[in-house]
Symmetry: none
Subunit: 521 residues, 2 copies
């Protein structure tokens, strides 16, 4: 199957189930009345009803499929496609999703996953022990002490409670730094590596600054709440800052709990968590304060870990007020590849936290053995960072006569009367050769009578005159541009450079590295 | 009441309703077992059960309150506080929320709201007519034609269908530009102002670039899907880019539709949409393809428009496959302060789109009159945006003799034997004067015998020789730097520039805008 497939259970549908299937297919892909759908759009974009089966109890199982392109390579659009508008249809539950490689290949999935977490902790084979720093309102010193004691006892994963939020960055920084320091000191003592994942929340620059701090502080990852922050935003932020991503299920129950409506937990906390890049997915396990049926837990675990188009497996993390006396049963139930979250019941051991943590690790090791390795470096992509390739390149460019530079090739643009430019030579000087900069520096030269394209774009230019004299056409003005004259070209300003002289006209052109393509005037 | 209040209906609760109330209060504020809550934390952070009432049919109405600080001034945290973890409790619906001024004051609410939209369109008094550009898969030309015809007919608000998503920025830009141009041309003809709101989706730099384009293209706002993108992210992005924000309810039905679980539509599409900054909130109206009960519609409209701690009112936008024959009834039902969305039923008028739009506007004017004003400038904060001050500034810099530029001051660094530099003149040329660039361009000049500080930093430099000849000291090498010689200084390389000649030595220095401070060698 090379199409996206979504399967729904409709309970007591408000229309004939076949008609409902066609309505879903149309609503989710183009959302328009049938008569406005052309044959081309129907063929390429509109969903197809693959099957409709009666399941008794006035329930019908409806499967709809879509071309991979409909997801547009975006987790947010996939989420929308599966249940966005039809979330308003009565008594409809999304229970199964199949994604072809054409979709998963664009979404990437977990970057670390179970294998990456095992490498980073150095713990093979057994379930990992996880706890949560809380309660909110505790002093920084108290939280740091808990963090250090859990790590000293050999705990594997330490996450912030998702209620730990700060109104300002400085208090976030101070608290996270204190907890990270406590964990590092304990790790130095034990020779193990407890991974500390602070909770990051908010939006805009507040969000980015916290992520930047976690990255620079050399912490391995973060706890994010994807259904509060946005499923796609959460995965993207973790990837952009090269952080492990633990997904908290806050708000997910609004979708998973109703029996006849919403999204099944296996799809939401399993498949969608995995494709959106969660390395660890927290879900309510059976028993304790927040409990789920064992069959639902098994669905989530299966979908996080099953073979899936080559995506890494996500570490399942059963949670929800679980207690220490459940530890071995959970270890048996969920298998060795899980992280078991015990919060309050572990924290309440107070001064004995390290000791009780050690005993708990012992119980998990007793089930499967431990196989401890030296923890490995956790950053996955540092060797790919542009800054690392630089030393091999030539970064001192002596100008030769006629504005040529050693180590940089001139590109001569072929003249052709049908082209919108004429007589242009270009040299890519800096930015395109492995340098770590947010901008590119190029030299352009126009032969007498030459000109660049008349164009506009969202990105800006800075122009520095370097040789001879030309003319800058900027919206309705014409300005001469001689040596060391400067111009700034603002977003979407229509511009062109011309050489109306008898000598070459050369200029430097500076642009942002990340930029859009030009449009016509 | 100076506290946040949340009211839930619990149906067939799994425990004594008083106990359930206390569990909610603890779960949502500190999520920890009672014995770990200190008296101080209990007093300042833990929620209080305000009331528990039996409502018959095994239903109980439970009201819990929290200190305003618990929301931490963030929409995301407020959302989480109201229903995050307890979304996993069975049969629990959030039906009412009261927010004190201490909370709404930090969240701001709509920036334009009904009044701002009326100013921008120039239409007082009557309901606005809105349509959606679709279907996805149509050519750019077709969509632009629809846009132009709707505007030519006097339509008020034009939004993209939320299925209009693009895999790349270039196709977004071309489509939006074409539709915007068509609307502008029509507005020039009619003297009215139809507002065009493109759909923006995705995350990270993809999201930012689209928003930047909409802002720079001088469009008034965007359509966003807050429950896909994140409630807080959506409001924040619109505010950061100074755009009107129309909220699409995709995925909201997963929370609002179950009778016994989730979040009531009045709370989600009314109160939460409003505090998170939606200027227009789309919701399913009564009748048509996606229909809601009239009582729910009234709740949404009331909560969007009622007096609420001084927040602007959000424009209600009933939608969901509504048809032209419902127009006048809807206008009567929802009152003059609404935007009525008619999609497919209007678009199917084909070549008669402008004419049918005009007739529809006539019907709405017939209900309440029209009171047309000259449309006002819609930007609320444009004077605060760095990019918007540009036209008043000088962006064409003619070089004067001795490397001075009109409009830019030279800074002469005072010489003092205790300082690590000598004989330095600096001119901030571009980047620091309101230009929108990711880098800064400066000119430095060293007098004979002058030098810069010997230093290193994480950010990089590009140096372009401009006048005379100097020496670049880079780690252990010395390189001459004459006119148009170039150098790249990589991260943490120790460097210094010297003038050992008898003439001034000038050079351009390019740096990333966002950069760290230098350290000693």
């Amino acid at each position: 199957m090379d199409r996206i497939q979504a399967t729904y259970i409709a309970t007591r549908p408000d229309r004939d189930p076949e008609t409902l299937g066609r309505a879903i297919a149309l609503e989710q892909s183009v959302e328009v009345i049938e008569e406005l759908v052309t044959p081309e759009i129907r063929e390429s974009l509109v969903g197809r009803v693959e099957s409709v089966e009666a399941r008794g109890d006035e329930k019908y199982r409806i499967t709809v499929s879509y071309a991979p392109e409909v997801a547009a390579g975006q987790v947010g659009q996939l989420f929308h496609l599966l249940f966005g508008n039809i979330s308003f249809y009565p008594r409809l539950k999304l229970v199964d999703v199949t994604l072809p490689p054409a979709v998963t290949g664009q979404l990437h999935g977990p970057r670390y996953g179970i294998d990456g977490i095992r490498l980073a902790t150095g713990i093979g084979q057994r379930p990992l022990l996880c706890t949560a720093l809380k309660p909110r309102g505790s002093s920084v010193e108290h939280l740091a002490r808990l963090a250090g004691e859990f790590a000293r006892g050999g705990g594997d994963l330490l996450k912030d409670d998702q209620n730990l939020v700060h109104e300002d960055f400085e208090s976030f920084k101070h608290r996270v730094d204190a907890c990270a320091t406590a964990v590092e000191r304990a790790n130095d003592q034990t020779g193990r590596r407890c991974l500390y994942l602070p909770h990051v929340a908010g939006s805009g620059s507040r969000l980015l600054r916290q992520l930047e701090f976690v990255h620079r502080r050399n912490l391995p990852g973060v706890l994010l709440c994807p259904l509060v922050m946005g499923l796609e935003t959460a995965g993207r932020m973790a990837a952009d800052f090269d952080l492990m991503y633990m997904a908290h299920p806050a708000m997910a129950g609004a979708l998973t709990e109703p029996e006849d409506h919403g999204i099944a937990s296996g799809v939401l906390l399993g498949t969608l968590a995995r494709v959106s890049g969660a390395d660890i997915s927290i879900f309510p396990g059976k028993g304790g304060r927040i409990s789920a049926a064992l069959s639902e837990c098994r669905d989530v675990v299966d979908l996080l870990t099953c073979p899936f188009n080559g995506l890494h497996a996500t570490m399942p993390c059963p949670a929800g007020g679980k207690t220490l006396d459940m530890l071995e049963d959970m270890g048996r139930e969920y298998g060795p590849d899980c992280a078991i979250l015990i919060g309050g019941d572990l924290l309440k051991s107070g001064d004995r936290l390290a000791e009780v943590t050690g005993q708990s690790i012992g119980k998990l090791a007793g089930l499967y053995g431990e196989q401890q390795h030296a923890p490995a470096e956790w950053r996955m992509s540092s060797c790919e960072l542009p800054g690392m390739q630089i030393s091999a390149l030539k970064h001192y460019l002596k100008k030769n006569p006629d504005f040529e530079w050693d180590g940089r090739e001139s590109q001569l643009y072929k003249d052709d009367d049908t082209l919108p430019f004429k007589g242009v030579r270009r040299v890519e000087l800096m930015g395109n050769n492995g340098e770590q900069m947010n901008f590119d520096l190029r030299y352009f030269e126009l032969a007498p009578g030459g000109y660049t394209s008349l164009e506009k774009h969202l990105h800006t230019h800075v122009i520095i005159g370097a040789r001879g004299t030309g003319t800058l056409v900027l919206d309705d003005t014409h300005k001469p541009l001689g040596e060391h004259d400067l111009a700034y070209i603002e977003p979407l300003a229509v511009h062109q450079l011309k050489n109306e002289s008898d000598e070459p006209f050369g200029f430097y052109c500076l642009v942002d590295r990340d930029r859009d393509r030009p449009m016509g005037p």
